[in-house]
Subunit: 201 residues, 2 copies
DNA sequence: CTATACGGAATGAAAATTCATTCCGTCAAA
DNA sequence: TTTGACGGAATGAATTTTCATTCCGTATAG
């Protein structure tokens, strides 16, 4: 039960090198083997801490999973929309979003993998799921703007967002490392072509 | 150890109502909770068989996972490329492939989910992984043809295939049920636009 | 000296796997 | 047609193994 060590945990800071090490180790393990396939002893060993130490920072395995989820989604949200320029042109905004997504994918492949793998995981609590909206919301807005201006296809924006995201992930997973920026840009063109209003031939 | 009951298992037919029930139950459970999150007792209960019965058909949990993977990938391969018409036009072939993919997604959402979720799962053996090629191969061929004819963008076909597949999955996961065929077709247009050589404006 | 962080063996619960037993259909003998 | 021996499919309690969590001794900072 988590309630017992709530006080102990509150005493520890939200940051701290051990906490960070545990999160990083858990990220690696859970991307490779999934939540249920990851054991606490494994995480402890990979993090270079004792098993008991994990429980000083996280109430239980589920709390660790949720903390990691928020960590990753938060980083993604920041990278994608943090200080996003208020460009007037929808195409320019799309390009910037695409660029930021791929920069994140290159810098944090494990986080990207975790976000993908644990999209709808059963161990996530309500707060974790709510974070999703902070990422999807601005995307919907961008796409809706484009539709209003008549430059984007009149598809459900949620579906368009899902398609673009899926394309980005597909490219970043398949593309050889390190990323060839031409390839990434070309893929961005593909994604734009997918959602843009088709030009009359 | 698996070798011990190899003979017993070989004695059982590759098909059979119980084996089928076990596979179906495992499919449902593993799509919902993942491989490691699924327990043998759960599978047995859902399949309406005794726990021991599972081990008459599958050497161990890993073998069950691999059998299920092959089952799903095989069904996907058949649905996608089985008796595929030798159309001359690349666009026509693409449309047919898109149609078949979405028909499969509609008919077997769990299998689609399983294929997606367990793409690169760690418990898969070499043979299971090799099956992937039976699905990707023809797709690469189709895309390469299109490039030779100059109707498709000169991107790495593997990456294009991954993008198209990702778009299809995204649409089929997000789209409300039952599928609106107009929406599916519109999404197919998006996918084609993504890979087609852009027309000069 | 006290308090807090840490580590890792110990614990108990839950899971995978085994296996002795039951159950059922087949078939040859009477 | 009945009977009973036989083979193997099915079962689930028992066993083994794994794993999350706890507990307590040690180390360290204040």
């Amino acid at each position: 039960m988590a309630s017992e060590n709530a006080i102990r945990i509150a005493a520890s800071a939200e940051t701290g090198p051990k906490r960070q090490a545990i999160l990083e180790a858990a990220l690696l393990q859970m991307v490779e083997r999934g939540f249920h396939g990851t054991t606490m002893p494994d995480v402890a060993r990979a993090a270079g801490v004792g098993i008991g130490t994990i429980y000083r920072y996280f109430a239980d395995k589920e709390a660790l999973g949720n903390a990691l989820f928020r960590h990753c989604k938060g980083a993604l949200g920041d990278a994608l929309w943090g200080g996003f320029p208020a460009l007037p042109d929808v195409k320019a905004r799309f390009d910037e979003a695409w660029r930021r997504m791929t920069v994140f994918a290159a810098a944090q492949p494990l986080m990207l993998g975790f976000c993908e793998l644990h999209h709808h995981a059963s161990y996530l609590d309500a707060e974790s799921l709510a974070i999703e909206q902070r990422i999807v919301g601005p995307a919907i807005e961008l796409l809706s703007d484009g539709q209003r201006q008549g430059v984007l296809r009149p598809l459900d924006p949620e579906i368009m967002a899902a398609m673009v995201w899926a394309m980005m992930v597909a490219v970043c997973v398949e593309a050889p490392r390190p990323f060839d920026s031409d390839l990434i840009a070309a893929a961005g063109d593909c994604a734009w072509a997918a959602i843009a209003m088709p030009s009359r031939t």
